[in-house]
């Protein structure tokens, strides 16, 4: 009995040592469900968190999480050896989330190549805007109130800006990975990030004018 338990632990250790890419390649070629389960387990928290942030709903995020991994299973034949798994997974998840939001009738009808003003793309001006108010009005809020304000404000951002911001800041993906996921140039990723930050700073100033800073 103890021996069987030891063997099971060893197998789990073996799986844990493998990279995502090796697990998916092996699942594609040999169909071992343990490999697939290990991938789901590895990305459970990270991907679910991304989907909740992006869709704004736990139940919808759960559905999208499951459909994302179902797509990974169905499209495993298209996975090319050596291609990083993480951006590929986020790419599938983002498409699934967009579809789910559209089906739920909550997809904002924004043009993907939305024009950004010059002020939003100038890095120096952006830093001035972000640091200009010192600690700013939202710093005066309680920590939980501030986090609540952040969640609500990000949810109000246009879809393409919110997508880019969540991937870059909250999910710690690199510019080139985001570019690959969203199928846009790296320059567009940066300009969308600038625009998102600029809009959030604007919202923070507006909340002070509304008296939000007094609460």
């Amino acid at each position: 009995m103890m021996k069987a338990l030891d063997m099971g632990t060893e197998a789990a250790d073996d799986l844990a040592r493998e990279t995502d890419e090796v697990l998916l390649s092996r699942y594609r070629d040999e169909g071992r469900s343990a490999d697939f389960e290990e991938l789901v387990r590895r990305y459970e928290r990270e991907l679910f968190r991304y989907l909740v942030r992006y869709t704004g709903e736990h139940s919808l995020a759960e559905d999208v999480f499951q459909s994302t991994f179902l797509q990974v299973h169905l499209k495993r034949g298209l996975y090319e050896d050596g291609r990083p798994f993480r951006p590929w997974l986020y790419s599938i998840a983002t498409h699934q989330a967009v579809d789910a939001l559209r089906k739920a009738g909550r997809h904002p009808t924004l043009s993907l190549d939305q024009r950004l003003s010059a002020g939003e793309t100038d890095a120096g001006a952006l830093i001035d805007v972000l640091t200009g108010d010192g600690d700013g009005p939202i710093a005066e809020l309680e920590e939980r109130e501030r986090a609540e304000w952040v969640r609500e404000s990000i949810a109000r951002l246009p879809d393409n800006l919110r997508q880019t911001l969540i991937l870059a800041y909250h999910q710690d993906l690199k510019y080139r990975e985001i570019a690959e996921i969203l199928k846009i140039p790296v320059g567009t990723v940066k300009s969308r990030l600038h625009a998102a930050l600029s809009k959030l700073a604007e919202m923070a100033r507006a909340s002070r004018l509304d008296g939000g800073g007094d609460s």
Binding site: V40, L126, I127, R146, V150, I154
Partner: protein, 330 residues
Amino acid sequence: MNAQDMIDYALGQMEGPARERFERALAADPSSSLRVDRLEAALVRLLDDGERVGAENDDYELHRPPAGLVSRTVGLVAEARSKPKRKALLDFVPARVPFRWADVAVAASIFLAGVLTLLPAMHRSREGTDRAACGFNLQQIFVGLMQYGNRYGVYPYASAESGSPHVGAFAAMLHDEDLLHDASTLNCPCTGPCPNAGIPDLATLARWKDQEPERYQGFMDRTDYAYNVGYRLPTGRPGPIPAGLQATIPLVSDKSPFDRAGRILAGNSPNHDGRGQNVVFSDGHVSWHPTRRVSPVDDDMFLNDDDRPAPSVHLRDSVLVPSSFRFDGR
């Protein structure tokens, strides 16, 4: 210090050596360092929703996955795996097909059937091109005949006294008048290529007839076209066709089938494998005739009304004979 680098650094987008270089530069530049610190603090205030920092802290994890998410997801995929896959068309194609001679035979027979289907079309296409080239030759000859007719009032005609009384002499007479140079004009493309031996003048032809009969005969045989042999004058003597006739009469055509005994055989010209013949008329037009009939009053362009390859008995009865036949019909 580059403002974009500051943003990249604060967002955690800078990696490896670039990040190390940037940090060294920051250490050497207190004002930039202060600016970056403020930027990082501003970003945390604006973007930290309580999940990113200390995300593993279960007490404060709003976006915690629901219990059993992994097992439900794996179960969903297992269910999809166990479902029989709806067959697509390509699924009926075996991944690896063993080599079989039967397959080669089927492929070869399909290829052969394709080739056999296409061959007649290709043959017809080539034949059409050659037939058009043949018509072009006749037009070239007509141009020469017309100019000859303008000069002399009659079309070329070699009498018995000329020394070369055979019909093929018409080409030598055009050549003498500088109206025909290229011997290939006398060769129908449908009969295959012909050695370009040139066109002799009439005197040379007469000399060949007496001294080199084989060469003389060779020239006559190389000419693929039949020429209007003229008509018998009211006096009974054969003579040339006048050039200014109102009526449209055939002047040159593909040669008729004939034998060495001087008989015209039944059927169409051998130039086009018996399918018909091109004819150029005195008004310059060329037309294709699937029979030997050229007009309502002339049933056979290769024979006169007496069924002979000899001068016609009246102007409406045209007779076109091969080059090796005589003008006087003897």
